[in-house]
């Protein structure tokens, strides 16, 4: 994995149309982004489509990346994850899990946080998530990592959707206050 500084430099080169830099950027980040979207979509074919669209968007909008606001990998992962969430929200009529190609998301290597990417910001966020009630911690983490809708969360928590809605909103406000933003 390249350092964030190297990724910033690569994105700057991509913004100028440097195809070799784009290839290096892809090589350095594809497995992380694919892991993120596969976990949400749970289907290889959909995850590949989303990854393709995400990188095309990264190629086209690299000039909009602002290193003062976001880290490169977070920016790229947000693009891919947003696309993945859009896809699952629009496919609600078909249960992804019941389709034949449904697959388990298997991270080929659990990415121990012990890697260099573990940042102060992550620790701070986890601390704030940890201050929520246990159920709400689960709610927030399942929503983020698995991309679940309120309906899916309501089913899992055996709670009305409106309650989930209230919990989510309060949880986000609590996190906001805890982070001091």
């Amino acid at each position: 994995m390249l350092t964030p500084a190297e990724l910033v430099w690569l994105i700057a080169a991509v913004a100028k149309g440097d195809e070799a830099a784009f290839e290096r950027l892809y090589a350095a980040t594809r497995a992380k982004l694919f892991g993120v979207v596969l976990r949400i979509l749970r289907r290889q074919d959909l995850a590949e489509e989303v990854i393709q669209e995400a990188y095309v968007k990264i190629w086209n909008s690299a000039g909009q990346f602002n290193p003062g606001l976001s880290s490169p990998i977070t920016w790229m992962a947000s693009i891919a994850r947003n696309r993945a969430i859009d896809v699952v929200r629009k496919r609600t009529e078909v249960s992804i899990e019941e389709e034949p190609a449904a697959m388990e998301v298997a991270a080929d290597s659990p990415d121990p946080l012990a890697r260099r990417e573990m940042t102060e910001e992550l620790k701070r966020l986890l601390e704030c998530v940890g201050r929520l009630e246990p159920d709400r911690q689960k709610l927030v983490l399942l929503a983020y990592y698995n991309g679940w809708s309120r309906e899916q969360l309501a089913a899992k928590f055996e709670t009305p959707v409106n309650t989930v809605k209230t919990w989510l909103r309060r949880s986000m406000m609590d996190i906001r206050e805890c982070l001091g933003v």
Partner: protein, 294 residues
């Protein structure tokens, strides 16, 4: 920036979290296209929550995905072997702070020498060192460990065998499993180590984020459980940034999840007799940081 109502703030936050429905997402995207400040708020949330992705495991996409990206992005056909410009030696001035962990390491306290009686007392009261967050989480994990039937399906201990149906590639080696993390802190709060444990394999990784051990000393990791008569050594923490070992495999999941983990300062190479010789310097408990994928 204009002041937004709590409704707007919540909408931005839930967009970033991903829980809005398709209509609401479209609404947010419309607002973003006309309101730069709102866009900035959404992006700030995405950045704040985006750090969670650091904990998602990497999965390699198939090689043909790159070919499709190239053609979809309209890149030139097959590229010659890459002749890349070298990255500049100095990082760009606006480099983000992701490596802050490295530089923000707390200053070493020169002395970890504690009198024997104090040590004993500290070992006995070690459970109280844990932070409030850890305590809350441990309560949840304890319910999972002892009364899994009280928890919704998703939170019961992960089944060890799963049917994997994959059309296009061979099944990956291991089923998705929960990741646990403990931030081992000094009493005062400065983190010294980050410990992660994979629930399925019980493999742990410990990463030092504080200062290295003083010359001639070694850090040693211990597992402390009320189910075990005395602290158990999990080995010396290597002098590198992180150390990874499978030694937790011989302990029950209940013990692993509920234990307190502590790092002591020992003579070089670790405790010679399997017992700790200093008070715990850094302690913490595991929290479930990444739920199992299903």
């Amino acid at each position: 920036m204009m002041a937004y109502s709590e409704d707007h703030i919540a909408l931005a936050a839930e967009y970033a979290l991903g829980t809005l429905d398709a209509d609401e997402r479209a609404q947010v995207e419309t607002m973003m296209s006309v309101d730069r400040d709102f866009t900035a708020m959404v992006e700030a949330w995405q950045h704040k929550l985006g750090v969670l992705n650091q904990m998602v495991g990497s999965v390699e996409p198939r090689p043909e995905v790159w070919d499709r990206i190239k053609s979809a992005a309209g890149l030139s056909a097959p590229q010659a072997p890459m002749a890349l410009p070298e990255a500049p030696a100095a990082p760009p001035p606006a480099a983000p702070q992701a490596e802050i962990v490295e530089s923000a390491a707390p200053v070493a306290e020169p002395s970890n020498v504690v009198s024997l009686s104090t040590q004993t007392r500290r070992w006995r009261t070690i459970a109280s060192f844990t932070t409030a967050i850890a305590a809350a989480l441990v309560a949840m994990i304890a319910v999972g460990a002892y009364r899994p039937d009280l928890l919704p399906d998703r939170f019961r201990p992960a089944a060890k065998t799963q049917v994997v149906e994959v059309k296009t590639q061979p099944p990956a080696a291991s089923p998705p499993s929960a990741q646990y993390v403990a931030v081992l802190q000094k009493e005062g709060g400065a983190p010294g180590f980050i410990l992660t444990v994979d629930e399925a394999t019980k493999k742990f990784t410990i990463r030092r984020v504080g200062p290295p051990a003083e010359l001639g000393n070694s850090y040693e990791l211990w597992l402390i459980s009320d189910k075990l008569p005395k602290p158990r050594s999990l080995g010396v923490v290597g002098s590198g940034d992180f150390t990874s070992r499978p030694v937790l495999a011989s302990y029950d999941s209940d013990i692993v999840k509920a234990a307190t983990y502590a790092v002591t300062v020992e003579q070089g190479g670790g405790s010679p007799d399997g017992a700790p010789h200093s008070a715990p310097v850094f302690t913490g408990k595991l929290i479930e940081a990444v739920p199992p994928a299903r």
